[in-house]
């Protein structure tokens, strides 16, 4: 039966998941959190605390050269400042805080310690003090904090109400649960960029609802649950009419892209509610096609989340931060989740695919499913035989690493890995 289904399904048909329909669950009591002080290539914070200090939730523990801050996501004692391996396998400094149950620091005190009382701070200072960094450049390989002293002119703002991965529902749920704050957020965006067209992407079932709830929006665009329709760069291109390749930040074409979650943290920051210290993460596993969305303090280790959900981490053979298509496999369950982690995907031994690399038979499935028309069959073979220069002629750098090519390859070739190898090898 499964074989029959596999035969008649369209080739680029990635399995679909369902949101559990329940409210976002709060996890507030990790024993400790690990807060990285560096997002490599993006931002580096200088610590403002030292081992042994007592810190309160919301307290600034690090500050970058431009005044962006990072905060303690729980109250506790700084155990140490040490280097850790991040989700993306960078070795960076981090602050380890062990929880005690002090009350959080008030926002006014936080702003005072920042050196700029809330009332007199400019919008950008408020955002920096609250740890909310430039929205117009995220996500981008070329995101440097110094680039955004002023907000660039944006003509089009896209609010992502749908996550890219088929197993992540964080934005969808936040959209459904916080319509009032989103109305506020849209008003804020209007203030910042008065002439911009503001669009929202939403799951089809929420499109009509969103149109009623957010009359300030220019457009609400429904995004189906087919993975190939959810790839971010293509969604943005469909919404705005301009395709921004992966090699270019959105801002260069006057487009700002931000998620619902980001919009909410922005509202929190400008309304003096709280700094950016929590994150919504959807946890899914390969067996049940259901998922749970939780809100965690930044820096919570994977293990703590799984323990609180009663999904013991020892049951799984592979843990991904992100989803199955673009997620990053973690070698340890102690990796802390940070601002750029949106989901967890857990795979048992029997779900982990074999890495049997066979020869390419030139069937062309990869090239057919590639959403940006890359000649994947050629690139894969060039890189396999170390002909990096030849492969580069086929615009490998434009790849979004969506993973559809490797997903449908009957030879199970690691095509995305080969493309990454090509992009990261030296010229």
């Amino acid at each position: 039966m499964n074989l029959l289904q596999a035969i008649f399904k369209p080739i680029a048909h990635v399995p679909k998941y369902q949101s559990d329909g329940a409210a976002i669950r709060d996890i507030t009591d990790p024993e400790y959190v690990v807060i990285p002080l560096e997002y490599p290539g993006q931002i580096l914070f200088k610590p403002e605390v030292k081992a042994g200090d007592t810190v309160c939730q919301n307290q600034i523990i690090g500050r970058s050269s431009l005044g962006s801050c990072v905060h303690a996501s729980i109250s506790g004692v700084v155990k140490e400042i040490k280097t850790i391996w991040t989700v993306r396998s960078f070795n960076v400094p981090a602050v380890v805080i062990e929880r005690n149950d002090q009350p959080p620091m008030s926002m006014d005190e936080m702003f005072e310690r920042y050196g700029q009382p809330f009332e007199s701070a400019s919008t950008i200072q408020k955002l920096r003090a609250s740890g909310v960094i430039s929205s117009w450049t995220t996500p981008g390989r070329f995101h440097l904090e110094a680039d955004v002293d002023e907000y660039p002119e944006v003509k089009h703002i896209v609010i992502k109400g749908v996550n890219e991965e088929p197993t992540i529902f964080a934005n969808e749920k936040l959209l459904e649960e916080n319509p009032k704050m989103i109305v506020q957020g849209i008003r804020l965006l209007r203030d910042i960029a008065p002439r911009a067209v503001i669009s929202l992407t939403a799951p089809p079932r929420l499109v009509e609802w969103a149109k009623q709830q957010f009359p300030d929006l220019t457009r609400v665009v429904g995004i189906g649950d087919e993975y190939k329709d959810r790839i971010e760069r293509l969604v943005v291109s469909r919404v705005t009419g301009a395709y921004v390749p992966n090699t270019m930040p959105y801002r260069e074409k006057g487009i700002g892209v931000l998620s619902v979650e980001y919009l909410l943290t922005m509202v929190d920051a400008l309304e003096r509610t709280r700094p950016f210290i929590t994150k919504c993460v959807t946890v899914a596993s390969c067996h049940e096609s259901r998922s749970v969305t939780v809100r965690i303090p930044l820096g919570t280790p994977i293990k703590t989340i799984l323990d609180r959900l009663n999904w013991p981490s020892k049951d799984y053979a592979r843990i991904l931060v992100g989803g199955p298509m673009k997620g990053i496999a973690q070698y340890s369950d102690e990796t802390p989740l940070t601002k750029s982690s949106h989901g967890l995907f857990l795979m048992t031994d029997d779900c982990v695919p074999d890495e049997t690399v066979l020869t390419c038979i030139n069937c062309g499935c990869c090239t057919k499913v590639c959403p940006i028309n890359l000649q994947v069959h050629l690139i894969g073979r060039y890189v396999e035989y170390n002909m990096i220069e030849e492969a580069r002629r086929y615009h490998v750098e434009a790849c979004n690493e969506c993973g559809l090519c490797a997903y449908c390859c009957p030879s199970h070739r690691p095509l995305v890995q080969l493309i990454r190898m090509c992009n990261q090898s030296e010229k």
Binding site: P245, P324, I361, N373, P410
Partner: protein, 325 residues
Amino acid sequence: MTNDMSRKYSVASSPHWRYAFTLSNVQRLWLLALAPAMVASIWMYGWHAARVMGLAVFFAVAFDALANRVIPSKDSTANYSSVTLAIILAFMMPYDSPWWLILVGSFIMIVVGKKLFGGTGAYPAHPAMLAFAMLLVSWPGRFDYTRSLLAIDWGTKMVEPLRLVKTLGGGAENTFLWQDLLMGHQVAGIGNALVLYLLIGGLFLMLIRRIPWQTPLAFLLGHVCMAWILNLVGPGEFASPLFYVLSGGTVFAAFFLATEYTTSPVNPIPRLLYGFLGGLLLMLIRAFSNYSDGVVFAILLINLGNPLLDRIRPKVWGVEVTGNA
């Protein structure tokens, strides 16, 4: 604490989901698509057809396994590609082929045509076509289908239709009923002219998207166009387009030979051109060469054009005008 963990997890590069489909699945689907013709062939030719197919598969798999032992490669014998190739070669053989002819054919197909170039995915020309061409050139007398089928009578004229039209002119097509041609009641190899059964299998492969629609349709279109032009130019000399499509291995070539993955293009426009060119060449060979059915040479010729045609590529999204590539 953070970095001394009790347990390590398996890591790999994304994506972590794979379509549950492997090379051997794909090849088995091809065999499934060839199955109607295989069954019909055994039904029509009796145990001789089973013998030819069985010997071809046996020799091909044996040579594949031997070659793999001498030169180990990632193209394993277990992926069924040799079986598919063997069936395709067998389909073109006359039903009284001696075992040694099949042995030589299988050797050329697997060892020379496939393994010497590096196995599935690496050969420049269809191995089964290469082998068949060599056999046809070396032992032309063995491939006189008309003589080989003297013992069988299906109530139709037991002469190779294309040969008859070639010698007697276009009018000879009236000797044959199109129904007979469609049902495979015509003198040919054991499987390559079972038009209806091959069509069923080919459409199945197309429906499940394991072969593109462009190549076979363009192939048939090219063939019909050329036949129509020739028919206009010399009505007495050439038969009607429908006759050429139904006789010999036209449908077999369109659905099973021109669509062979390794030797056919990947992009949509090249696929159209490739197919069209194939059909056109096939008609030219049928019209102006000494061979009555030129499928094998038409396929080998378009195989040569494959890398060149595949240079016509769709534009990559978001990349400025290309220039060099």
